[in-house]
């Protein structure tokens, strides 16, 4: 007698049973995203490149922003932005994932965390394509990868766990309060400027004393740590400094705290999703 469908469903047997669903949903999103476009998946490479071009012209050429001595702006930007784009895509698509899967949730039993998780995995797939763009820019600008570049999955995993946690939280809350969809867009805009993507943490040293609090916000912002970590390993040739154990501990703590919080809220809320869809 199989225990899979009894009421005492265990998390792990469920997860194993629904792994194929996760895979199929990602494949479905992938097919639908690139269907009927001539360049198809090439867009995932071209998009970050074009955005990088525009922003480099605006911020480097016109506004003359400096990101540190001897650091190439185009590379600096695209490395940070690629991880940020992963995070922002994962969380903002997860946000409505439970709502849009309402039809399914009402009719069959599926562990509901599959939906936000799937969006995060799909964003990760897209991110892996954008790495091609990152590598291209690095080679063109002469910022060559080193052995340390191979460590890049570490910050990506940290960021992925954090994104999953936040996605669980957002997708659950959105079921109850649809405002979150609009609110989160504003929050993301604010968030991107509080993350060192178009400027560097070092340039903040020049801030007026009354504005020093911004530094603390940046320090409390997990994305600052993930992106700086990601840059430190990918552009090791420029910085020559690997993230310390302390930074690793901070990153892990932030990721796990978010995952724990998100999972807790999600678990509390999921039983009543169906009544609000």
């Amino acid at each position: 007698m199989s225990s899979v469908a009894t009421n005492k469903r265990s998390f792990f047997s469920d997860f194993k049973r629904f792994m194929p669903l996760l895979k199929n949903l990602v494949a479905k999103d992938f097919k639908i995203k690139y269907r009927r476009s001539i360049l198809g998946v090439a867009w995932s490479v071209l998009n970050p490149l074009f955005t990088m071009l525009v922003l480099t012209i605006v911020f480097k050429v016109i506004l003359r922003v400096k990101v540190g001595p001897g650091v190439d702006f185009a590379t600096y930007y695209i490395v940070g932005a690629s991880l940020w784009n992963f995070f922002s895509e994962a969380t903002s698509t997860s946000l409505s994932s439970i709502l849009t899967s309402g039809a399914l949730i009402r009719k069959v039993y599926i562990p509901k965390y599959i939906f936000p998780l799937e969006k995060c995995v799909f964003a990760l797939v897209n991110f892996s394509f954008s790495l091609v763009a990152v590598l291209a820019v690095m080679l063109i600008r002469g910022v060559y990868p080193t052995w340390a570049t191979l460590l890049f999955p570490i910050p990506v995993i940290y960021c992925f766990i954090f994104a999953c946690g936040l996605s669980l939280f957002l997708s659950a809350v959105t079921v109850y309060f649809r405002d979150v969809q609009h609110l989160y867009g504003v929050l993301l805009t604010m968030w991107i400027y509080l993350t060192p993507i178009l400027y560097s943490t070092e340039t903040l040293e020049q801030l007026a004393p009354s504005m020093q609090f911004v530094k603390y916000i940046l320090y409390l912002n997990p994305m600052t740590h993930y992106i700086n970590y990601f840059r430190a390993v990918v552009m090791y040739g420029v910085y020559g400094d690997l993230p310390s154990i302390e930074i690793n501990v901070v990153c892990i703590a932030m990721s796990l705290a978010m995952l724990g919080f998100g999972a807790l809220v999600f678990k509390k809320a999921e039983g009543k999703f169906i009544l609000h869809l």
Partner: protein, 248 residues
């Protein structure tokens, strides 16, 4: 613990719904109402202290007028809804046939949807590979396999859905009004398949407004009225009593 002879045990199941006169979907509204202490919900009890057992291998019918809690009870048994109070225990794999084709993505082709839907029901890719031809054969849709499903008629969608949902012999099969899909030939085919499952010791739970169908298929029946069990027992007895209900 569930009795070994039972496939399903319901104990004092209650299901309450909030029937708020206006659905609050924005934080601001919620906050305002909360501050003004206007957050009261009208409680609606869809299922009220329902208890019954379904024996393994039984074919069990649920009858009752519209809105008496039939579908809610089915959803509680299949694990889609969590009851507000009471306990549900089930033994074995449940295949819910509640609205066929839930989980189809109309942009995808039938071939892609068969795999997607299989995984929605928790079947592995390898299993689906093995059963793929069976499904296609049963649904008689081979010629349209690579057409996006948005171009299908509703009957065609239902055929594929039924074929996928019944590809295994589940321990418990839940059938909610779905035998009304497809043309009469396909309906006969569906009934044959369900009959075959019954012989294989599958417990079948059927909700239908067609009394003839219930009388033809079921051994035992429960009659629900306004969320409560009105009568439970042999199909003939329950159905006769039910048929004598007068319009109030």
């Amino acid at each position: 613990m569930i009795n070994n002879e039972n496939a399903v045990e319901l104990r004092d199941i209650e299901m309450h719904f909030n029937m708020s006169s206006e659905k609050l979907q924005s934080l601001k509204e919620y906050f305002l109402k909360f501050m003004k202490r206007q957050l009261h919900f009208e409680n609606f009890v869809a299922v009220d202290k329902v208890s019954f057992d379904i024996k393994k291998g039984d074919v069990f019918g649920i009858v009752g007028l519209n809105g008496c809690g039939k579908s809610t009870t089915l959803k509680i048994i299949s694990g889609i809804l969590k009851p507000t109070k009471g306990s549900v225990e089930t033994q074995g794999v449940i295949a819910p046939l509640i609205e066929l084709g839930a989980g189809f993505d109309m942009e995808l082709t039938a071939r892609e949807n068969i795999y997607l839907n299989g995984s929605v029901l928790g079947y592995s890719k390898k299993f689906m590979d093995e059963k793929f031809d069976d499904i296609v054969e049963f649904s008689e849709m081979r010629d349209f396999l690579d057409v996006p499903m948005k171009n299908y008629s509703s009957g065609m969608v239902a055929r594929i859905g039924f074929a996928i949902a019944t590809v295994t012999t589940p321990d418990i099969l839940i059938v909610d009004e779905i035998l009304a899909v497809g043309d009469f030939l396909f309906q006969q085919k569906c009934e044959e398949r369900i009959n075959k499952m019954m012989q294989d010791d599958t417990t079948v739970i059927i909700v239908s407004h067609s009394i003839e169908q219930i009388e033809r298929l079921c051994k035992h029946c429960v009659w629900l009225e306004k969320g409560k069990v009105k009568m439970i027992g042999e199909t003939a007895e329950v159905c006769n009593a039910y048929k004598n209900t007068k319009r109030e």
